[in-house]
Symmetry: C2
Subunit: 270 residues, 2 copies
């Protein structure tokens, strides 16, 4: 998917909502457990109920790998279901990968070719040659961790590096990498005041923003400081939407929560 197609979708749907498919068998409605593939059935119901309100789905690979081969099958069925039924949706493999060059190439092949995701999240610690193999794929997007939404973000990301914080150095350095136009960045919503500074470094890039809702971030604050002319934001919500109810009405309640967020977004976009 091209960036322009993502922008068009945002304008059409009046939404920049990403739904995180972090599916835990202990948290989904228990009646689904009798089915052959409860994780896929759960995802399918959530997607069917929200695909006109969300522009993106983001399965976190950890939640699938935790169930071994069965989990990987659920992931594959989920991405195939989205690609076949909702080709306009921007898909994100939240995998936070990164390794030496030939290994990153294998990860890129796994997620961009084998599974056909539009994008993947990656970690920056190993530098340029660990990320460029992902950037080499045309019309695929690499979403690099910059400033995350967790407490541990302050352990290293905000350390002072030659007069500036590490995450800013990460943003600045990555702009010089080959095919850097395929980069997006993860910036946590719990740190809304940082968006002003971040936009000075990457004014045009899309930012994937976790941490609204369950982790305490504010949508309006993030938009105030983080939005650009093309919106430039994908706001992720996982638990607040997918676990809105754990009864048989889970999909309906998920839609209600997604609709609330889409309405807020529509207001902001006006």
């Amino acid at each position: 998917m091209t960036t322009q197609q993502l922008i068009d979708q945002i304008k059409n749907k009046k939404s920049f909502l990403c739904v995180g498919l972090d599916v835990d068998l202990n948290k989904i409605p228990q009646h689904l457990l009798a089915l052959e593939d409860p994780i896929f059935e759960f995802n399918k119901a959530i997607i069917d109920a929200t695909h006109d309100l969300a522009v993106s789905y983001k399965p976190n690979t950890a939640f699938y790998e935790a169930y071994g081969i069965k989990g990987w099958q659920s992931l594959e069925k989920t991405i195939n279901y989205i690609n076949e039924n909702h080709p306009d949706i921007f898909t994100i493999a939240d995998a936070k990968r990164g390794d030496i060059g030939n290994t990153s190439s294998m990860y890129a092949k796994a997620f961009f070719e084998d599974l056909n995701f539009d994008s993947i999240t990656v970690a920056p610690y190993m530098g340029k040659d660990s990320v460029e193999p992902f950037l080499a794929f045309e019309n695929k997007h690499t979403i690099m961790l910059a400033l995350t939404s967790n407490e541990g973000a302050f352990d290293f990301q905000t350390l002072n590096v030659d007069g500036t914080e590490l995450y800013k150095q990460v943003l600045e350095t990555s702009k010089n990498w080959k095919n850097s136009e395929n980069l997006m960045y993860v910036v946590g919503a719990t740190k809304a005041e940082y968006f002003t500074e971040i936009r000075k470094i990457v004014p045009d890039s899309f930012l994937l923003v976790p941490g609204v809702g369950a982790q305490g971030g504010s949508l309006s604050e993030v938009c105030k400081y983080g939005m650009n002319a093309n919106v430039g934001l994908l706001i992720n919500s996982s638990r607040a939407i997918i676990y809105a109810s754990n009864g048989t009405d889970f999909a309906e309640k998920a839609r209600e929560e997604a609709l609330k967020m889409q309405h807020e977004m529509e207001e902001i976009l006006k």
Copy 2:
């Protein structure tokens, strides 16, 4: 596995060799491709030929994920084969994972419980709460990236953070995390001169050392500066051993290469 069991194994085998199982279908002997699971058959032959010379095997998950469900099956068969036939071997899932707390817990469950690896590699960028969920597992080991063997290591890892390099800050900070006795660290062999400084910060920890051989690092240099009273090193070799030949003699040639390294190690241990 306890750290003491690993040390005992090193003393018994007079080896601290780790064999990286980075299996690429384009590089393995072509006669294996006719078999139902070429990756597993390749690994099995390598393991059968080298298990008395190596103390550890390290499949890199990227090379398995690149083949989707089939790849995950090969990974599962490989780890099960090692655990069933060579329970003394220290197994490493080279996965370089790391995410917010509840997600890291799922990764830990995937690799420590479901697949039953002894250890996993993780990335430090997201800080304490992204690593501690791994550290919570008793007799499991978390091998955190400190200073890697690739060129991109100099993009961020060696940046000056308040008067010290970032990788040193990562080492220092991680010592204060809960269950930090379960930490080991990745330190690339291509930077042997750094081992002196690293040993000042983590004198007792095991270091997993990639980059000897194919990437240009020297075994004797690494041992000179990096070894401690319990050896404290796991030297990884992947391509130089597993791709020593791509004919029908590949396992035999892999043994020859492993034997060369084990002999060098035995000399150093004297």
